[in-house]
Symmetry: C2
Amino acid sequence: MLDQTTICAISTSPGIGAIAIIRLSGSEAIPIADKIFKSPKKGKILVEQLANTIHFGHIIFKDEIIDEVVLSIFKAPHSFTGENSIEIACHGSVYIQQKILEILVESGARLALPGEYTQRAFLNGKMDLSQAEAVADVIASSNAAAHKLSINQMRGGFSKEIKELRGQLLHFTAMIELELDFAEEEVEFADRTELRNLTNKIEVLLRNLKDSFQLGNAIKNGIPVAIVGETNVGKSTLLNALLNEDKAIVSNIHGTTRDVIEDVINIHGTAFRFFDTAGIRETKDHIENLGIERSYSKLELATVVLLVVDTENPYPIIAKRINNIRDRISDSQTLVIVANKIDSGLNETIQQLEVMDLTDNEKMVFIAAKQKQNMDELIDLMIHSINIEAADHQDIIVTNVRHFEILKNAHEAILRVLNGLDSGITGDFLAQDIRECLHYLGEITGEISTNEVLGHIFKNFCIGK
Amino acid sequence: MLDQTTICAISTSPGIGAIAIIRLSGSEAIPIADKIFKSPKKGKILVEQLANTIHFGHIIFKDEIIDEVVLSIFKAPHSFTGENSIEIACHGSVYIQQKILEILVESGARLALPGEYTQRAFLNGKMDLSQAEAVADVIASSNAAAHKLSINQMRGGFSKEIKELRGQLLHFTAMIELELDFAEEEVEFADRTELRNLTNKIEVLLRNLKDSFQLGNAIKNGIPVAIVGETNVGKSTLLNALLNEDKAIVSNIHGTTRDVIEDVINIHGTAFRFFDTAGIRETKDHIENLGIERSYSKLELATVVLLVVDTENPYPIIAKRINNIRDRISDSQTLVIVANKIDSGLNETIQQLEVMDLTDNEKMVFIAAKQKQNMDELIDLMIHSINIEAADHQDIIVTNVRHFEILKNAHEAILRVLNGLDSGITGDFLAQDIRECLHYLGEITGEISTNEVLGHIFKNFCIGK
């Protein structure tokens, strides 16, 4: 059912550049290119050229020279799509790019759909589905950690893990199904203790993968940070100081609801997503307590909570605030107590804060946001508050929400297997849950896929990829 | 004095794309690429590969895989710059593009200056200066006619013409200088009648080239169009009707003075530049006559003047307006009388307009702008009001303001030669003016160039070209 049509698209960033690349892929890619390409070498035609070679010449249409180009030939299966492909490097005027595309369409190609090159690469077995999905992540990644994860996934790291899991499960289910064949004889090919150990192991693996999504998502989309605290403690100054970091790349992301604006900052290769918690941007007009309540309401979305306190206040007041927020912080969150205004703060307050007992997921830093004092220390704390380095030690980190949803389902299925083993249910029920788990894992790599799923995945790709 | 440093730059349009191209050029291009490129084929190194070949592999830096790339090798002199060159096609994330650039710089390349690739192509004799300038025009051209002229110039059409002129002049001056050697003997190697014919011929050629700039500039930057007329005749409606043409691509260009905004519209491959003449955008608040005066003030900049008249008015009033504007139109301009509101106009007025005498550079069209009636006819008139087709029949059209300025100087020098011949001045004075003319023509092709001129030309290129 493979679509063999020859497709074409501009593959470089839209707009004017020194050069642009137009990509042609499909069974007729090379003959179509021959129709419009003329080499200065008499009689040279592309269909006779070797794979992986480069040719200088002109794009000519209706006797008009459209451009001088450099054309590259790729041949199936050694191309990105696995099909015969041509890449035309032309001058990067928008006019030329559009014109060549027009000419290609008039010569028998059709415009590619979003992600159609990558979809063909998947359908031609050049990569599995999770690798194909990673291609889009590679292109979209804007920081070192996200880039590293996506490159790893594109190169098949994630698929390898999933395939190993599937292999273990297959072995598992084979043994159980063998038992079913001999049901009357009540033999146990699958030793229940061994099965239990294996199931436990798989459950841990699936759980770790599933749990890695929090980290993966933070890396991919930025670590969610909430800045909370009373009015006039310096939240706004702190946010601005962070936004103004020399190394920071700042952008505004408009959320789904109109009142949520997030600032994404890239610091030392790590992206942070700052919630615009109430009280940061519009302190003045709010009744204090109401403002604080609203700040708290988005706390649960944050991986890092920066509680800003004003060291100009007496210690008991600050301690009360800290205890107040401690109740709202879960174990998986990091609370950073940001003791601000140390340039003008009370010595006694600072000293008492310094000796305050902190739990494992609590940190404290002393800064003067206005003077940008100790900002580096705060940034270090934020970077280390989420264990980004875990990404270096953990082979696989899930970043894709589709994979996360599937892994949740797979994990639930394997938990049912465990429960089944505990309650001694029959092999056929066990096998059914395992099959379900196998099915889910197959959905990740694309061994099991529907047009609907594929359509959903690739429609979010850009055209030309 | 050639700079042999290896330079690198992103050559595709900035921003995210499916792929991006990073270009490396210079004596060390291939060894530098070898430092960061790893082929899956063991032991394969780039310096041993043939020219015009393509290689799949990874960009690796400090043991980290940065990307999977496709790398193309070009070898001197068969590359764009004439130097050894490498093109790296990477995934088009901004992160990867920047990272690879960083790695290349750490590996011994330096960031390219604007236009530095093209400048090297010029300095290495791959193209002359007017061809190099055309590269920027090719990239910038946004309509068919401008594209065609720039491609022609890039391919050397313009240079050929200039070189022929120079050849004729050189022959001319050689004969005169021969006379100077034999000055005492009063011989005339250069027959004065022949010389006069040749000088006349060259004068005509230079004049034609110089004069072609009006057309060339109109094609390159859009045909300048002024819309004038009294208030309430429908100027604003007409402009909007033109702007809303389905085939039109509209953009706003902010001029050098704050009050000049120009709308550039691309219709059927021809660009038109509409002046925002007073009275079009802000009719209501103006005293009528003042408004009209202001409309007229920019008339001389226009190649096409659209005089909009309202056929609801009696003919004598309209005739007076037409005569009024006729005095302000030069022979090189086209006056299009746009008789508007024919749906509601006076029959008598329309009939009398239809039989009105028009000169060669006057046209009339009857439209109803509001109903978009007869707009095609108006557009046809506008397109043909400037003889764009002349571009098809005339070999060379000057589009570059630097060339235009030089040609003006060259033309003045040749006029001095003609005058000198008339007044019988001595050969040494003749020779001096001819040498001057030769010098100017050499500046166009770059046979004579200074760093200052080159710097000025290439600083306007984009980086990566």
